[in-house]
Point group: C2
Chain length 196, copies 2
Amino acid sequence: MGEIRNAERTRRKILDAAREEFFEKGYNGARIESIAKRAGLNKQLIYHYFKGKEHLINETIDDFAGSVSSGNFILPANPKHTAEFRFKVNVEHLMDFLKFTAWEAIDSIPENSNGEERRKLVLQSYVEDMRSKQDMGLVPKELDPSLITLMMSSLTIYPLLYENVTRMITGYKPEDPEFQEKWTDFLRLISERIFD
Amino acid sequence: MGEIRNAERTRRKILDAAREEFFEKGYNGARIESIAKRAGLNKQLIYHYFKGKEHLINETIDDFAGSVSSGNFILPANPKHTAEFRFKVNVEHLMDFLKFTAWEAIDSIPENSNGEERRKLVLQSYVEDMRSKQDMGLVPKELDPSLITLMMSSLTIYPLLYENVTRMITGYKPEDPEFQEKWTDFLRLISERIFD
DNA sequence: TTTTTAATTTAACCTTTGTAAAGTTATAAG
DNA sequence: CTTATAACTTTACAAAGGTTAAATTAAAAA
């Protein structure tokens, strides 16, 4: 049985499976065996296509970085809507990637200058955006654009990732649409207060 | 060489070493061998005093929970100072524990109802505190106290834990006192805006 | 068709790691 | 002083997991 041999497709399968696995379990927690199983392939094929675990995760990250269309990153004109916008993007497109960043924050993961570099550019574009809006008078002068951006990241990521905390505090699970709606509203409310 | 035999002291050494190890590497990443080494003890002693890895982490968490004096949790009277206060407490007393909560958020860690329960109580006391201040007219009525509390947690934890993100956005490392000062100031500024 | 190359599988290895079992030595009770 | 208990050490092992090597089979080239 099995399908016709096809290097391209197999490589793709491995990368997709690896993405799931690495994003879900981090580098150290990920298992080559498990990736193979997800991909429905023989474990050894992974070594045929990639040098090893470390090489695989680097390729995986690069591949992912390339796949995230930079179209998501057109921020709203009004800074009061930035937080809710970023929250929405996180919920709809970046959940699994965010989980990976959580691993990255605490687990020892081999460096990937490429992926790191791209993320840095995105984050700094957020800072620049905020700075330009500050110049336009839409953002209070006393607030540092980079710190505002860090605030936005905190508020739109932490509640999604720290399921326990969110539940202990609010009683909701982060995935609950009801929570997401409340949190969206809340972000808008405080944004209005902050940017007035 | 070696000191006089002493069960109490040995048990203590194990718990201390286990705390460091578990907080630093999470449950799955922690190594019994490494704990033994930290404690300067034979690996097998750990099995003499504890049933196994899972039992050990539970005892470790309970032990830690018992050791954190609840004295830290007297919140400032003015809600405008809550964020900076919590940030300060995190920096000065809870860094390693926070790191552990990061593991907990993404890694599969054996449940510890006891530790979980205590944390929940603390967090909910924060919510209650905010609610009472709202009743006193110090907090805008339209802001849900539990969401405010979640916001406080996000803002005082995320930047400390996500070293990469903090650095990519601000150029500072979270441990840098200069960053901590700026962030403290920032927290105060936005608190003033939010609670006015 | 023959040959060569590449995809895929089978088998095996070696290290790490959690844990068990048994042995040894100190301390305390009788 | 003898004996029992508990602290500590030594050995050993089985499972897990990353990696390599060799064998097989399909596809492409000649």
